[in-house]
């Protein structure tokens, strides 16, 4: 069996793409932040607010360039700490939009940026 055939079998088995070589991969950044709020914030409320703010402020085209993702499994309800993943060029763009979120429903909030890093490990959550 030739190489192309072997790769295609591999993809069928795992249902995922072969990892890109490092030079073709997009450089990513993780932004950890803490929510200072009047009352505790649920992940779902935060996710809706962040996406709405990004789409309102930058539009669909703008957000498509950010490679934005709110990392669900790293959100801590107790500490009110969350992590955002985006590409390395969009860090100030994402942080600026976070600053425009002043309310989640009736709860007033302020977001404090804890750290920006290239790996989750070095965020030291």
């Amino acid at each position: 069996m030739d190489n192309a055939g072997r790769e295609s079998d591999y993809m069928k088995q795992k249902d995922q793409l072969k990892t890109l070589i490092p030079t073709l991969r997009e450089r990513k950044r993780y932004i950890s932040f803490q929510i200072i709020s009047e009352s505790p914030i649920q992940y779902s409320d935060l996710e809706a607010a962040v996406w709405n703010e990004l789409l309102d402020f930058y539009g669909e085209s703008g957000v498509s360039k950010l490679s934005f993702r709110l990392v669900k499994n790293l959100y801590s309800d107790a500490k009110q700490i969350g992590v955002i993943k985006c590409n390395n060029r969009s860090v100030p763009v994402v942080i600026a939009a976070l600053g425009l979120i002043s309310r989640l429903g009736d709860t007033r909030i302020t977001i404090k940026i804890l750290k920006v890093s290239g790996t989750i490990k070095s965020l030291k959550l």
């Binding site: 600026a96 976070l98 404090k112």
Partner: protein, 238 residues
């Protein structure tokens, strides 16, 4: 880098939060100092505010400065005369006469939101040159953007970006302030510098606008408090 927010209103001048609440939140967000820009009522107010600030400063563990924001030319001229009695003199921009007077008055430290409630940017090359000559910093006010939405926000941001471009061309200093009237309107310094970056400043220049440029004003305050200080650039040496 040390960060300073030099334009915050407390409950003394129509704000929603007390000096203590604002100072505690500023400390939590990572500021080294904060300046309360109050509206001037009478001379007794200065003493009252100074006492309150001294109490809170020890409790909150953050440098607090007392500033006054002049709302019209008459008030600006009066505050310029009693300049030594408080730390920072801000001039409320927006009105063309006020923008002009502020840029031409060396006693003024910061011209706040020159584009406030205007269709144009409120500054031109002549005024910015004057501001640079008289060491008047041009403010980028975050609250103005925060409180606006859609079309208004787009216009405000466009005017601020034009002012930033002018200020950079003529070497006038820029400071980014939250302009908060409540503890919930205070923003992390990283958020403010990111916004500066979005408005046309490089990231390090935007950080300087909250750190180094604001720090220069703070240094000037400390010099001014010395008995040997006479006026900017003049002090008793012996």
């Amino acid at each position: 880098m040390q960060f300073f927010d030099l334009h915050v209103h407390s409950a003394f001048s129509g704000g929603e939060s007390s000096i203590e609440q604002l100072a505690t939140r500023a400390k939590q967000l990572g500021y080294s100092g904060i300046c309360f820009a109050e509206y001037f009522k009478n001379e007794n107010q200065i003493k009252e505010l100074k006492e309150e600030i001294q109490k809170v400063e020890e409790k909150a563990g953050i440098e607090i400065f007392l500033g006054f924001e002049a709302r019209n030319v008459k008030e600006l001229n009066y505050l310029a005369k009693i300049r030594r009695r408080f730390d920072i003199l801000l001039a409320r921009g927006g009105d063309l006469k006020m923008n002009k007077e502020a840029c031409e008055t060396p006693e003024v430290d910061i011209l706040t939101h020159p584009e406030y409630e205007r269709r144009d940017q409120g500054l031109n090359h002549v005024l910015v040159k004057e501001a640079a000559k008289n060491n008047v910093d041009i403010e980028v006010n975050f609250r103005e953007i925060l409180m606006a939405s859609k079309k208004t926000r787009a216009n405000v941001m466009s005017n601020i970006a034009k002012n930033i471009k002018l200020a950079r061309k003529y070497n006038a200093e820029i400071v980014i302030c939250s302009g908060a009237i409540s503890e919930w309107e205070l923003r992390d310094p990283i958020v403010l510098s990111s916004f500066g970056n979005l408005l046309g400043l490089e990231l390090d220049t935007a950080e300087e606008a909250i750190g180094k440029n604001a720090g220069k004003i703070v240094e000037e305050i400390k010099k001014r408090k010395s008995e040997k200080w006479i006026m900017p650039g003049v002090k008793v040496i012996t």
